[in-house]
Symmetry: C2
Subunit: 695 residues, 2 copies
């Protein structure tokens, strides 16, 4: 895809909140990213003659892994082996690489436990329990409460539930808002932060065809990687792991995709969609294109710069292609009409029932009103950013963290609640390298952009530039900071407010100046936007339950879901796309482009040609409903075996952010047979194959 | 494609007349199907640094062959070997097959001259000379002449020029109207009717991927066949034949496509386009779908029926996909707007010059007026057909032929002029088999359709049914006819009017009843439509010369043209389509569909896998501008060597009927290296390879 969950640019996705799937009549085939408490058992039984038991679902849940802050994965051996995508592992591969040893380009294989490479900052989460806490959250809000107070109260209640749970169980505890606030659930996770890299092919094999082929099908990617989870120095003994199907996915077969879809916008109101189309997407695309140009210019300086920027370039290109596709989908004839018709039908149902009308009908206007209020501040909300790729963000986090820790948990800014601190510290103190050259290039351009969009008189811009040009300002900032050293960050945090207040580190000094402006924006957004849109969203969510029942799934929230569907080709480009591709196709595509980049074969793949059974399935498609965040999800059959590994959606799935249409929307996966064939015959990872196959 | 020129259903293409290409400003890249007297030498020189000499053009012209009434080809050996497409050869393959020996399914190879199979009715034509006769044709029309008389005079003049030329030279002589009547040219052809089949692969190799893959790319078809032209029992010693390039087309290379594009509609007026979109296309698509259903139902009866219907099913599916694509293109957003803008600009230029305005401006209204006049008779013009697949047409042709022969040449119906008689007799007396079962199925359904659309009271329907049901009427017709026997047809024609008048053959009896009705429709069309639209079209053609000069090519007319372009991939489905495919891709596609029809490998191809160099280029694309009729065209490089064999356009080229856009419009060809590799290693046709390579 890369179906890795994109980092959001600040201010852009104010309205991309969770929402419930719109159901107008019968559920379309194979649609939905279902929570495990509400699986569409009836549909599964009727359409596929299969009804997962509670034990089946529990097994899948406990074998499923959330990887980092944007990916999915699964345990595939009793010794803690975690299968995910190469592109989900890319960040770690980049971080463990050095100018001397480029694991992104060359791949990696630890034939023994001793050779496994510790990851600097990868957190894995396994969903241990789920508890409906809607009543507890909503009890915090008293009738007639001022909206701003109500929002505060709700946030405090959520922080309290999480804190209490963490204290009681020691497990990571997140309260998740589902169905646009129609329900709140406490999800508890077993967390693993001791993770080692075991196997990854060369990026050219994993991401064969590069940006052109990204998000397309037919496809020929070996987008896989293997980590191993450890606890206290020992490989995790996973009681629940997925067995492997060497035969893999067959045509027409029912398959399931457990994973962590990041976000969908299937239930935005028309006003929100129009805002996205008219403002949010054009702004985002513009910023991304600009950032890509900066990153490519930096990479062109030399091989080491290219190595440093590789992951970032991948990430931006990936996001750009996805967002560009979504934007094209929104602009396509019929898109808005379709959405308008669905909203009109829903609102007509609500208006026809006097009780519903009184309770819910105002919500749409409230949301539209909030959007209008936001428009005058839209530039500030979009373009005020902390300069640099990582340093600015780190500095601001340190400044805010030491301040927030002084407050009672319920009063803190989101992101700094007690239950969130472990993960925050894990990331903040990561030993992963920070590259000054990249920091500089990105910082200069983002200051330049701010200057262009907000003008020199904007107080935020003033604080950043301090009378200098962007180039000068960044030079000074980089010369005066030690934050690239994680020990320095740790000292500052441990020194608390006093240490931070005294610090003369250039980025900390800047962050102290920016912090009040950032807080003002956040407060303004909460008081003027979020306090309106959240309860309005809740009302629409409740209206949906009223009108359509709970035969529905919530919009994606980067929490565990199960999608299902059939392995199935589709009409494409005037003909049919087959349900699978083969290694023949990989060699064809390379030869068709005369082995030119990005269609060249890695040397090891070229060399293995005569050893491989070229008819081995390589990638395949199924109708399962996914989105970014599902990257690395296993594809499992009814027996619970791995038949594939999700790594992408096709171009026809871009509009899946807004609605699902099974005509051509397809999930693209690596076939389980291809992984075995490649590990054995290309990479000589026979031992891993044995571990996976349980031999 | 099959870029074989489709037979037109009567009445539908009244307005699809030849027209000049619209030029508004600079000529778009690689556009155009150029006549040899007016090659875009300047553009070729500027863009590709190549300027074909007169000798180069003459060589290409004399090596180019028009194949039958819908295809192209070329001489590729000094011994009369003619290369064309399998799908161009399909009709002959079908006709030489028997219930015992199915050359369509099994392929054919004559290892010796004695094994070559005579074709029953294939005519090849080589363009020997071209002469501008515009002045002679236009001289027949006197100023102020009544339009109906003027049309008659012009037709008589054309028939006279053809007759005189035939008498003088013995060569087939056709007067061609180019640039919508802006120019008339006398084209003389050397004709070959003694043609033998030499080589064809199995249809499954030639048409791999079947209807789904038809008109798409990437593609994997070995769509080739070889004939040999004979004269008086000896292979033709072709002074001009194309040498072979074993390396074949390379990326970016300049290539030329000499061939016989059938028809384009790039210069229809907006009124004509709207008529096509609103009426002609929907009617045609409806009829084709219906005919396809009948043919498939017939084929389902058994293997012999399937064999008989195979060529017809191919033809209808091919036409349906092309026409469906063209229709979708016309309905797509922006299509009509684009055409309207071009027409508006052109007419503005004409209106701005008082002399042009006076001379030409009325033409558009005249055409629009003629369309309006036609609408009340549209059903008769569209649905009155002679029943049956071949017998009805044969009968009508016999009845009309003996009558027309009594008249002076200039007064005859089109199709019966002296210069046309040889080819007419060649087809009419063809010994190719006629299948009663197929005749019956098609006839019953076409009578049924007439009954539905025109009603039982229509005189034409009455004459056909004679008070019976379609089933009964057809039974009687088939029981009472001997016309399947070519000797019977010959006797009737030789017996002249007297023999035909006396004949009790059921189809002849019916044709005698239908003939006056057919003549009435034709006369009405000439007097009311053609006599208006032809001079109006000429005016628009002249207006174009006035406004844009002759830096243009005429719409396609199934006469020799040369297109040119570069071997080049294109953006497709979110990624890039490579400029070529390879044999790897063929095996991939078969394996991807689990070797299911229509993606299964012919046994010989499967067996040859280890002998083949799988990286050999199989198909490739170039920007050259083609349309149906170009099937079988050689693709030649600047050295005049065969680098490929045109067999299709991609789906993006469907709108090429109306305009050319080089972004994704591509010609699809078999690579010259693939033909050699396959003939050698799959078909064991080493001797042919030697003949072609001149070894």
């Amino acid at each position: 895809m890369k179906k890795i969950k994109g980092r959001r640019l600040p201010g852009i996705f104010l309205f991309a909140a969770a929402a419930i799937m719109l159901l107008t009549g019968a559920l379309p085939a194979d649609e939905g990213m279902w929570t495990l408490d509400n699986m569409p058992l009836q549909q599964l039984k009727e359409k596929y003659g299969f009804e997962p038991t509670a034990a089946w679902l529990e097994h899948i849940r406990l074998a499923s892994v959330r990887v980092g802050d944007g990916g999915s994965g699964s345990f595939v051996s009793p010794n803690g082996l975690v299968l995910t995508n190469h592109h989900v592992a890319l960040g770690q591969l980049q971080k463990v690489s050095t100018p001397q040893k480029n694991y992104v380009n060359d791949g990696f294989y630890a034939a023994t436990a001793a050779e496994e490479l510790p990851c600097p900052d990868l957190e894995l989460n396994v969903l241990i329990s789920m508890e409906n806490v809607t009543a507890r959250v909503l009890a915090a809000v008293r009738k007639g409460m001022d909206p701003v107070k109500a929002l505060e109260a709700k946030k405090a209640a959520i922080a309290g539930i999480e804190r209490l749970s963490l204290k009681k169980t020691g497990l990571r505890s997140d309260v998740v808002s589902l169905y646009q606030g129609g329900e709140y659930w406490l999800y508890r996770y077993k967390k693993y932060t001791e993770v080692k890299l075991v196997f990854a092919p060369e990026q050219q094999a994993a991401f064969y065809g590069g940006d052109p082929d990204n998000f397309t099908y037919p496809r020929h990617d070996l987008d896989m990687a293997l980590f191993r989870a450890y606890e206290k120095g020992k490989p995790v003994k996973a009681a629940h792991y997925l067995k492997w199907s060497a035969a893999g996915a067959a045509e027409g077969e029912l398959v399931f995709i457990p994973g962590h879809p990041g976000s969908t916008n299937r239930l935005l109101t028309l006003a929100q969609l129009q805002f996205q189309r008219e403002y949010a997407y054009p702004t985002r695309l513009k910023s991304m294109k600009r950032m890509l140009a900066v990153a490519k210019k930096y990479a062109a300086k030399g091989p080491e710069e290219a190595r440093q920027a590789a992951g970032m370039i991948f990430g931006i290109e990936n996001g750009l292609k996805a967002s560009g596709g979504e934007y094209d989908g929104m602009k396509a004839p019929g898109f808005m009409e379709k959405k308008a018709a669905a909203e009109a039908e829903f609102r007509k149902m609500i208006d026809a029932n006097p009780q519903w009308q009184a309770e819910y009908a105002g919500a749409w206007e409230q949301i539209a009103g909030a959007i209008e209020k936001m428009k005058p501040r839209i530039k500030e909300l979009s373009y005020r950013r902390v300069p640099g790729l990582r340093l600015g963000g780190i500095a601001l986090q340190i400044v805010q963290l030491v301040a927030e820790l002084q407050k009672p948990d319920g009063k803190r800014l989101d992101g700094y609640h007690t239950a969130e601190l472990d993960s925050l510290r894990f990331r903040l103190f990561s030993p992963a390298p920070i590259y000054p050259g990249m920091e500089e290039a990105i910082a200069v351009d983002s200051l330049q952009l701010m200057l262009e969009e907000l003008g020199a008189d904007d107080p935020y811009v003033k604080a950043c530039l301090d009378g200098k040009t962007p180039e000068e300002a960044v030079k000074v900032l980089l010369a005066g900071t030690q934050l690239a050293d994680p020990a320095v960050r740790r000292q500052l945090v441990e020194g608390g407010e006093a240490a931070v207040a005294k610090s003369t580190d250039s980025f900390i000094v800047l962050a102290r100046k920016l912090d009040p402006l950032v807080r003002e924006m956040r407060k303004w957004q909460e008081d003027n936007i979020e306090s309106i849109t959240r309860p309005a969203g809740e009302k629409i969510g409740q209206a949906r339950f009223a009108a359509y029942g709970k035969n529905a799934y919530p919009d994606a929230t980067f929490t565990l879901r199960i999608s299902y569907g059939a392995v199935k080709g589709y009409p494409m480009n005037g003909t049919l796309a087959p349900y699978k591709t083969t290694f023949y196709g990989l060699y064809d595509r390379a030869a068709s482009f005369d082995n030119k980049s990005p269609f060249h074969l890695p040397q090891r793949v070229a060399d293995a040609r005569d050893k491989l059974d070229l008819a081995t399935p390589l990638n395949f498609v199924c109708t399962g409903d996914i989105i970014g965040g599902n990257s690395g999800s296993p594809v499992v059959n009814a027996a619970g075996e791995v038949v594939g590994l999700v790594f992408d959606g096709n171009v026809e799935s871009f509009v899946g952010r807004f609605f699902y249409d099974d005509t051509a929307n397809r999930t693209v996966s690596v076939h389980s047979a291809a992984m075995i064939e490649a590990m054995k015959k290309i990479y000589g990872a026979e031992k891993l194959v044995q571990e996976i196959l349980g031999q």
